[in-house]
Symmetry: C2
Subunit: 404 residues, 2 copies
């Protein structure tokens, strides 16, 4: 008798962004004349920069000729890309990471969902609350949690680390020691950043207690302050306790191009087993490499031209972030984030729930954001706006919100 | 205390093709003057056809401009591609499959590895022996098998269906009823094909016993005989028992481009749950879509120009298949496959083991093939050659083998 994976049935009906998509489509169908602006899902709007376009065209041309055609990619990703990553993202920042410790993938969403597969189902997971839903949902699917607790609005058996206005949206070291700790800095959804000294405390805690930190640094390109680390490997001892996930989606506009990578240092051993070897086995068995043309596009991100053009693109989005942050603050909203991250975290006015504010904004201002409660119980009463729109639309959306 | 996924430790040390790669690299390092020809891993050698190259360039250009830029793709894949698939691969062949039943992915290897995640770990799995290693390995990783049995050279708790010379390399209906049945036709590695009438028996068996067939049709483009089905949905009743996996790797040379899809009909319900809804939840949570430019390339596969050019490309490889098959048969080898598939399945001479023949061919003829025993215990004494080389190299490799 075929059985399904019953863990799936514990999950809420649909993925957060699918729900938002449906609500927006329904509104647009009923109000075809309204111009709806989305500052909701973290999708970029600026085109790929010229250095990347050129690399893509060149790689496509290579695929047109037998002598330069590329079939299956090497398991870990092409060396040209892993070398560029190791040098630019790590060694140039003083982080001791080698190319062979880097696994190229089709994006950080896949990696952050798949990474839990190499661990036993008896590990205790800690996440921030609010949190990017993929970390929790994939652990639910794997059976690493209990049932959904409707009273607490979260899953039994998970250690939730509240990120609230009181603690500046930074989690505190958990009293009950977890096995796997998911951290994302600069943070999605709150836009908060952690200093190097504060992150060092997490690394020390993990090493002392034998935990593994799964560190999502997808938004590191948006860091503007010096004391904020771009990588967890800037902290001493991180090589023995941390896996780092990175994305090209937000620093290079690759949301529709799909490229990311995971770093697992050689020294990271748990339960007597090298985590690098386990991930290599998974990567080699359940994945078949990112497209050659996409890996060439990734290489161009690290070219001199690419770096200069992308610095400008990130600057464009950060101008939006500053606009949203400053204008809404001036208008009397309680806002945070937006300084080292492309996300602005907003307290809903008049004690509205997050979804009430979502409906209100959609209806009254035709602006789409993301309800904070969709990221966890402690996101209730908050709302996420993203800086990834065009400047014109962002300006217009903020003016509409202010005029409410 | 962090535990790793101990199921991984049951697996043989490395993925088959990684082992072959290492052996070949070692031989080349010791013998830099030898020209080694690979008819081993099923990687293609012909460049992408002009219609696909044009589509790629156009899509890259779209990504260069804000008005035509594409970010995150829809969960199931772009409609333009799903419509083209539904029409060309299914409706035009009389198969009742809708675009909404198609999930676009980054390739059939990922899908064939991931599909088991939506099922409970208590399901009994049946596979052919020999078999594509991913089906078994991913079920081992998920804990759906017992330990590796060194005497039998396979995993406890799996139903292996021998494919031998005696049964024409076609499995027989298993006496112990499995839950999940993996079938791949045209077959990798044996190159055997199943007739529509024979496949109908499997569909009837699955419907009668409540099994789910996971049908891998990655090689359907190589079918040359009329009574061989291109899709399991050509059989009556398949919509209530079968999931179909498809790839663009072999029909369009996308091994380095990465595109595939999975079909799950709406009616496919087990354990009271729609499998379509479960896969949609997985796809939406652990994957973020195939690249836009790659999906546009996939669309071009179905254009008039694309179809004509790819027919020629498949014909090129099938000329290789015929050459390998006919010449080795003339030379006294016992061979099968190669008529509806790009694989030729060869009995090793002089009762050599598969790996002995591998080492012998590598050393004496500088030709790389794949040891049959790497695909399972019943592959012992057999050897796989692929038709994906260039015609010149294939010719040369066969001449070398014949002259031994």
């Amino acid at each position: 008798m075929v059985t399904v994976n019953h863990n799936y049935l514990r999950l809420p009906g649909s993925y957060l962004f699918s729900t938002i998509g449906k609500k927006v489509r329904a509104y647009k169908e009923l109000n075809p004349d309204k111009e709806v602006i989305s500052l909701g899902i973290g999708d970029v709007t600026q085109p790929l920069v010229p250095a990347i376009i050129e690399a893509l065209h060149n790689a496509v041309e290579e695929m047109a000729h037998a002598e330069t055609f590329h079939g299956y990619a090497p398991d870990l990703g092409y060396e040209f890309l892993r070398n560029a990553i190791a040098k630019n993202d790590y060694q140039d920042r003083g982080c001791d990471i080698k190319a062979d410790e880097i696994f190229v993938s089709d994006g950080a969403k896949s990696d952050s969902g798949n990474i839990q597969e190499i661990f036993g189902t008896d590990n205790k997971v800690a996440v921030c609350d609010p949190v990017y839903p993929v970390y929790v949902d994939t652990n639910v699917m794997a059976g690493r949690t209990g049932e959904y607790n409707t009273a607490r609005e979260n899953f039994d058996g998970v250690i939730y680390m509240p990120c609230s206005k009181e603690n500046g949206f930074l989690p505190e070291l958990p009293k009950e020691v977890p096995d796997l700790i998911y951290l994302c800095f600069p943070n999605n959804p709150t836009g908060s950043a952690i200093t190097r000294d504060e992150l060092q405390k997490w690394v020390d805690y993990a090493n002392k207690n034998g935990c593994v930190i799964i560190y999502d640094a997808a938004y590191e390109a948006y860091i503007s302050q010096d004391n904020v680390p771009h990588s967890i490997y800037e902290c001493e001892g991180a090589r023995t306790c941390a896996i780092e996930l990175r994305s090209f989606s937000k620093n290079a506009g690759f949301t529709g191009v799909r490229l990311g990578f995971t770093v697992i240092p050689d020294e990271l051993v748990r339960d007597g087993v090298s985590l690098h070897s386990l991930w290599a086995r998974r990567h080699g068995t359940k994945f078949n490499g990112a497209p050659y043309i996409v890996q060439k596009a990734g290489e161009a991100v690290y070219s001199e031209a690419g770096k200069a053009q992308l610095k400008e693109q990130v600057g464009y989005y950060m101008r939006n972030a500053k606009l949203i942050h400053d204008e809404l603050e001036k208008a009397g909203f309680s806002v945070s984030g937006g300084v080292n991250a492309p996300y602005i975290w907003l307290e809903t006015p008049d004690k509205m729930t997050s979804w009430q504010f979502f409906d209100y904004l959609l209806k009254e201002a035709n602006v789409v954001g993301t309800p904070g409660s969709g990221f966890g119980a402690h996101g209730e009463g908050f709302f996420r706006l993203t800086a990834f729109g065009t400047y014109e639309n962002t300006r217009k959306a903020i003016d509409r919100i202010k005029s409410l």
